[in-house]
Amino acid sequence: MAGPTLIPAGDFRTSYAADTTVFPTATSRNAMIAGIVLICFAPHVLNEYSLSLLIQIGIFGIAALGLNIVVGFTGQISIGHAAFFGFGAFTSAYLSNRFGIPVFFCIPLAGIVTAAVGLVFGLPAARLKGLYLAIATLAAQYILLDFFARAEWFTGGSVPASAEPFSILGFSLRGDKKYFYVVLAYVVVCYLLVTNLIRSRDGRALIAVRDHYLSAEMMGINLTKYRTLSFGLAAFFAGVGGALYAHYNQVVSNEGFGIDRSIIFLAMIIIGGLGSIMGTLMGTAFMVLLPESMEWLSVALRGSAIDQFLGLKNNIAFLREMAIGIIIIVFLVFEPDGLAHRWRQIKAYWKLYPFSH
């Protein structure tokens, strides 16, 4: 799970405030603020295509963050995350279409409704652990997908539901360039929220449940409460991500919320690093860019011997699926702590350069 943070020798914390600070050094805080300010200029610099990739990273990053709470921080297993993501998308579209609630409020509301559903499916977590729980969430995935296909009043059945574009105080934020700022705001808020959650009593309780649930229980942590709560939290962020996704595409169809999407979410947090908040974003970026770079590679290789052998043009979808599976296996076998760990090592290497200790 989370590896040790590399703090230079002699850096002793003398107060609890110093121990639980969000940024370990002033430089890291300034770098983060500078990074967010810099990325605000992205819509003016990048083309539509890169911008849409950034938006996707943001949206999926929020949902993956939720999954990281339940898997990375609480140590439970959820294989049904995409269904919650889809539930959030449909809920937000339904709320804005049916009741005329402004989209601005629909997104957090969708998160709350999805969280309620997540709590219901988290109830088995109260009694089960480990692989039994994994199987329960697998069932949740199939049951929710079946519900989407069945509940025509809610999802439109086979006809995709339409979702209103995002608007604030009457100003409609249509188009990628404006929507980018909406997603960015949500990403910043969600990541700050979770960072602070982990610093709080509840966050520490979640980590205690992961690390040693018996000891946690002995110290007075209500296991049932925190296991179920982690599912609710995960579903909340999945719902927010799904709602953003719905208003981004402005149409929600039944496709794309299946088990393969759940596996991609799991891949994001495993590649990024279980129990690492910034790692989640790195893993998401990796998983969003992987299919794109494969697409790009297949174009670059067109007509070459490799292309002839693999039949890239027709089979790129299968190769992409295979690549996802292989990447997961490679990371689990060789880098179980994910990109976040690798990033820390790179940072430590340059900090200590040219002496390795």
Partner: protein, 297 residues
Amino acid sequence: MNTQLLIQLLINGLVVGTLYGVVAMSFVLIYKATQVVNFAQGELLLVGAWVCWWLLTKYQVPFYLGMPITLVFMFLFGIAIQIVILRPMIGEPIISVIMVTIALSTVFSALMKWMFGVNLQPFPRIFETQNINILGLQVQTVYLMSLAVSLAMMVGMAWFFRLSKYGLAMRATAFNQQVAQSLGISVKSVFAMAWAISATVSAVAGVVVAVVNGVSAGLSAYGVKVFPAAILGGLDSVGGAVLGGIIIGLLENFAHFLDSEYLHWGNLYEIAPFYALIIILMIKPYGLFGTKDIERV
């Protein structure tokens, strides 16, 4: 009430259920021996069926040769998976092991789609398909064949575990790894053998399904149906898995009957096992015959 349809569907359920039972049995075998929850069980069926199909259609190998070649291949394939992928994962947290098998299932299903396409391919005819009349019911011979093969596999498995030396070693390992090791059992080879046998048995089930319905990517759905079956029977009970499989098969078809005759909700056939799964997990998580974990949460 349409009794004719009900009985027909229940027979259907019995046939499909025994197949679920066989797959669940091979799933439980891996879980019991190596503590790995194999999410790629359905893909083992798929690989077995495609390999057999490939030998029979592309190379025109007769069935009595093609089948043993497939089984030998799957045996080695199972060993290879265990040694290359699962062995380095020993001692890792459950989530990692589960993720590896999920990733394996993604890789295999994509690989099979890539190699053989996504369309349903009919299996070369091996048996003459005809209907025979049993007690006034029309039953296809392939169904009887499927039932017979499934039962034979179950009996074979029972014999293997009860009477053979290797089966005894495997049971000992499942019971207590360290004690088994101290008695001179090679736990490594038991692990590999568990995967090998599981893959082989799954391949037989895969070929049986392929003979009845043809080969397609949809075959891996059997791997998902394994979970309701295995949980119902108890995750570490081989006999329970068989019974669980049969019950799930019957339940599925009974749900289909209720749906088509009375409820008309549609698609209940597909989803009923998962509702059953949630209910079982809520009220009796260790299943009918599973070992109760004393340490309650």
